[in-house]
Amino acid sequence: MKKNKIILSSILFSTSLLFAGQNGFISHDSKVFLNADGKKEIGKIDTATPVEILSSKGNFKEIKVVGWGGYGFENVLFKDVGERVFYLVLNDNKTKKPKELAEKTDSFETQWKKVSYTLWVNEKSLTTNIDEVYKEGQELFVTRCGSCHVSPEIKHYTTNQWPNIIEGMKSRAGLTKQDVKYITKYIQAETTKGKSHE
């Protein structure tokens, strides 16, 4: 527990260094807002999602997030077509319209769109140090996922399989919702290593 706190505080600390034009990451699952006043929540952004910081206002930062969404479901963004690392889930696809960047049809005949959104998040949701976010997941993975059974090898399952497997095991491993995200994002960072990031 002690270690978790140290890591968390360092994540918080690093947010103060954020400035416009910089690239950052979401440090933990966070709400996203329509405006800088933080009043209208329009969805959630996932832990470890890379963002570009556009501007600041009070405790809030305007961010740009780019990802792939299924045709008609552009409010749910993934890192890539076929690699389901969740980035963003907006409550609907009406409140905020994205900027369309590209289109693709995958081999299962599903149409995808690459889009970007500009949204607002609390500055506490941001970090510049992604390694510390992954480290949080790594620590949980090695300690919690190897006590009932042997620690599985990460390469044994795929980017897409892992989230469901962790979901199925979360109660037995005593993982909170955020713990699940830390582990999932850490593992998905490993499984997608070296693959193209469109």
Binding site: G70, F108, V142, S147, V150, N160, Q161, M169, R172, L175
Partner: protein
């Protein structure tokens, strides 16, 4: 490890006198304390939680935990097991190994005498062997995949403790998967995006409310839900009772698809469909052919929630292989009448149905196909994600479907080393093999095998290290295994008992049982109803030590005690840490938990079940919104055919579910010589081979031999009568057994439970007959396919005859010869 500190902590909870104890042991150790010195501490096991009666320092009886709705009889045998004649009392070394070390004659394993040594000597021997092998051959020469189900407890997990120690020493070869579900847990992530087999099921209350048909397909929950990986809570039993009542009242139909009329089928008096062993896939294909050609399958479900149906459809209709999978085709293979197959398919389609499938069916050649085919059938029935309906692959395991309590998790010891030192573990990169390929690996260094799209090259194993597991019961093809074992330089075992495995060891270190140490555990793998204290009730029997202690002492000799203990002074420090972590999680979730001291005093914390968890339906979210809740497959949908598997291009696992003939079955050529198919399901009064060394044996054995079920027709042909001692054999091996002639087994099929202790007639002789009833004398050591490489225990043909020679005495429940 200071006993005094622990006592101080336990002050007031009635620690028994620490007098020497143990029966069947040297006379001077039989002095127990005054009988009026009693305690009644809470503890637990895979069979359930209980209070331990301790009188005069000895464990004399149990009372089942008050919250257990269906205590298993197995807990009653725990005192007997503690003082069993088969207890390993002292550190032991095989005579030849003590003399010549790793250069000893390894063919003497299992037949040579043992020599008692001091702990100091034994630990020195073990440590120097580990160092020698690590230094000479590297960590890929040590197999420490140590598999087994020995005990519960988050600290005293012998395999993890040993892996932790072995990692510190430089690493080891480990295992992937398990013996239970190897084929299913590899195929299902391709099909459903998750492992499925160890995941919570649609809740029993919803099944009882909605399903009109409940099908136990190769599943026997009445027997197998007696045990759990954590502490058995038996939460499913009240629901099974309700199902029985609903069935009796005509509200629901219960089916059992199994060549054996098992305990569950008897309990429900269910409608029995008996396909020939290993032919379930063919039967299901016939069912699907019927649904397809009568235009009755759920096209909407297939279109919306699955991908790749077309390739399967072409196969089903015979476009791919010119063989339409008609009812007649299916019936010819599986032996079930056409009209029965048709009616069954029709009933499942017309009414709300839940298919509860077990795992024994996938412990067979091409076992991957069973669960894949069943998922496909369920998709064609279109009831996946519907409350109480669809399919479930874990109702028979750990009381799956019992609604989960709102509880925190409970962590345990792991192999994670917190140290800044540049120790030997720094160069270790995990290297694992599919667990049931262990013997193949030892016998064939350098051989490359396929596994789920990758290639694995076998390393050259010189040492095997096993903690509290019994591979000489659970691995297939005993005689091939014994031959392979001769290649090893060293075989080290930690064991409380002289199991067939301990008897094969070079060094045996006596380990404690659960009742001799403190620990903490969860009740209910899925339902997490309680966290329970497992309290030390008696002192270690004779010179036994906890696995934790053994591994700590070896780590100390390696120079890394602190890395092993993580700087903790006592075992209780770990237990307190696990509890504190749970408590912190609970607080985050708004659940109240008492302080550790209060918990330890009371012995348990109970958690409540929320309404939402009573109404859990698997795949409900997916069916509601497949885009937002995609499955973990490449397409995000259920994959009836898989492009990933197609790319692997395996001949023994195509890219859609299909019927592939097993290596041996009643329709194969081998059946001319060996006309009977032997199945080895889970025993009623054992956990695999555990408890075989207690009086429970008297409840099921026939003349001291493992029982074998044989159909009256097959028995008559061979002049076998009820209670006869028989010899079961094939080209791989032979064993004696006790015949039970019964209609509960299909003609052509034999049932002999797994886990009977291997008792060689003459351990120095090759392929010697087992006197007692080890079914793995007869099974095949082969991977299920290139995809999963799971064991195929339920694929084996044999012949059986009345044994007319002199009946040899059983010796495996005595101690081996000790100098």
């Amino acid at each position: 490890m200071s006993n005094i500190k622990r006592r101080d902590f336990l002050k007031g909870s009635g620690v028994a006198a620490s007098a020497l104890l143990v029966s069947n042991l040297p006379a001077d150790s039989l002095i127990s304390g005054p009988i009026a010195n009693t305690s009644n501490k809470i503890s637990a096991s895979h069979f359930g939680a209980f209070r331990a009666h301790v009188k005069g320092g000895q464990f004399t009886g149990v009372t089942a935990f008050e919250d257990d709705p269906f205590p298993s009889p197995m807990i009653n045998a725990l005192p007997a097991r503690t003082y069993s004649k088969t207890r390993v009392e002292y550190p032991m070394v095989r005579e030849g190994f003590l003399k010549d070390g790793h250069k000893s004659d390894s063919s003497k394993r299992g037949s040579e005498k043992f020599v008692r040594v001091s702990w100091e000597k034994a630990l020195d021997l073990v440590t120097s062997e580990i160092k020698r092998v690590q230094k000479t051959y590297g960590y890929k020469s040590i197999y420490a995949g140590s598999y087994g189900w020995y005990c519960t407890g988050k600290l005293h997990n012998p395999q993890t403790l040993m892996n932790r120690m072995m990692k510190i020493s430089g690493g080891y070869v480990g295992r992937i998967g398990d013996y239970s579900t190897a084929a299913a847990q590899v195929i299902l992530p391709h099909v459903l995006g998750s492992i499925e087999v160890y995941e919570q099921q649609t809740s029993w209350p919803l099944v009882l409310k909605h399903a009109k048909n409940v099908v136990f397909w190769g599943a026997n929950p009445l027997v197998t839900c007696q045990i759990e990986w954590d502490v058995a809570g038996h939460g499913a039993f009240p629901y099974l009772e309700q199902l029985k009542k609903a069935h009796k009242d005509g509200q629901v139909d219960v089916y059992s698809v199994d060549p054996i009329k098992n305990d569950t089928a008897m309990y429900f008096d269910s409608t029995q469909i008996k396909p020939k062993p290993n032919t379930d896939v063919a039967m299901m294909l016939g069912m699907m052919y019927h649904l397809h050609t009568t235009n009755q399958y759920d096209k909407e479900f297939i279109k919306k929630y699955t991908v790749g149906f077309k390739d399967f459809e072409d196969y089903l209709l015979g476009k791919t292989d010119k063989t339409p999978k008609t009812l007649k085709w299916a019936s010819n293979i599986c032996g079930v009448e056409e009209k029965v197959i048709k009616q069954f398919a029709q009933k499942l389609r017309d009414e709300k149905s839940m298919l509860m499938a077990g795992w024994g069916v996938q412990r067979a050649d091409h076992g991957e196909q069973f669960h894949w085919t069943l998922v496909t059938l369920a998709c064609m029935l279109g009831q996946v994600g519907v409350p109480g309906c669809g399919f479930g692959f874990s109702y028979h395991y750990s009381n799956g479907g019992t609604p989960s309590a709102d509880a925190p998790g409970l962590g345990g010891i792991s192999t994670n080393i917190n140290s800044k030192k540049d120790g030997p573990w720094k160069n270790y990169k995990p290297f694992n093999i599919p667990c049931a390929r262990m013997v193949d690996m030892i016998a064939n260094p350098g051989k490359t095998i396929d596994f789920n799209g990758r290639k694995i090259e076998y390393p050259d194993i010189k040492m095997v290290y096993w903690t509290s597991g019994n591979p000489f019961h659970h691995h297939q093809d005993r005689n091939t295994m014994i031959e392979a074992w001769k290649k090893l330089e060293t075989f080290i075992v930690h064991e409380p008992y002289w199991t067939p495995t301990a008897r094969m060891a070079d060094i045996v270190l006596p380990a404690t049982t659960e009742i001799e140490r403190n620990d903490i555990e969860v009740i209910g793998d899925y339902d997490s109803s309680h966290i329970i204290a497992m309290k030390k009730a008696i002192e270690p029997v004779q010179e036994s030590k906890d696995d934790y202690e053994i591994c700590r002492l070896i780590s100390k000799k390696l120079g890394y005690e602190e890395e092993f203990t993580d700087g903790k002074e006592t075992q209780l420090d770990w237990i307190k840490e696990f509890y504190a972590n749970s408590k912190a999680q609970a607080e985050e979730k708004g659940i109240k938990m008492p302080s550790f001291d209060e918990f330890w005093e009371k012995g348990f914390v109970k958690f409540e079940v929320k309404e939402i968890d009573k109404n859990f339906t698997r795949y409900e979210k997916y069916v509601q919104n497949p885009m937002l809740n995609p499955l973990g497959t490449p397409s995000g949908k259920i994959e009836i055919s898989s492009r990933v598997i197609k790319k692997f291009n395996y001949d023994d696992c195509l890219h859609y579910p299909s019927w592939i003939e097993p290596a041996e079955w009643l329709g194969s050529k081998e059946s001319e010589d060996y006309p009977l198919h032997i199945l080895s399901p889970h025993p009623k009064y054992r956990l695999h081979s555990q408890l075989s060394n207690t009086w429970l044996r008297d409840l099921y054995e026939v003349k001291g031999r493992e029982p074998i079920w044989i159909n009256p027709k097959d028995a008559k042909k061979r002049g076998i009568k009820n209670g006869d001692i028989v010899k079961v054999y094939n080209k791989r091996g032979s064993t004696l057994a006790g015949a039970i002639v019964t209609d509960n087994v299909l003609p052509g099929v034999l049932k002999m439970d797994e886990g009977g202790w291997y008792d060689p007639s003459d351990a120095s002789e090759e392929k010697t007959m087992c006197k007692h009833g080890d079914v793995n004398q007869l099974t095949i050591d082969k991977g299920s396919s290139k995809l999963a490489q799971g064991n195929i225990a339920n694929t084996a043909l044999v012949e059986i005859e009345k044994y007319n020679k002199e009946i040899p005495a059983i010796t495996v429940f005595e101690k081996p010869e000790i100098i």
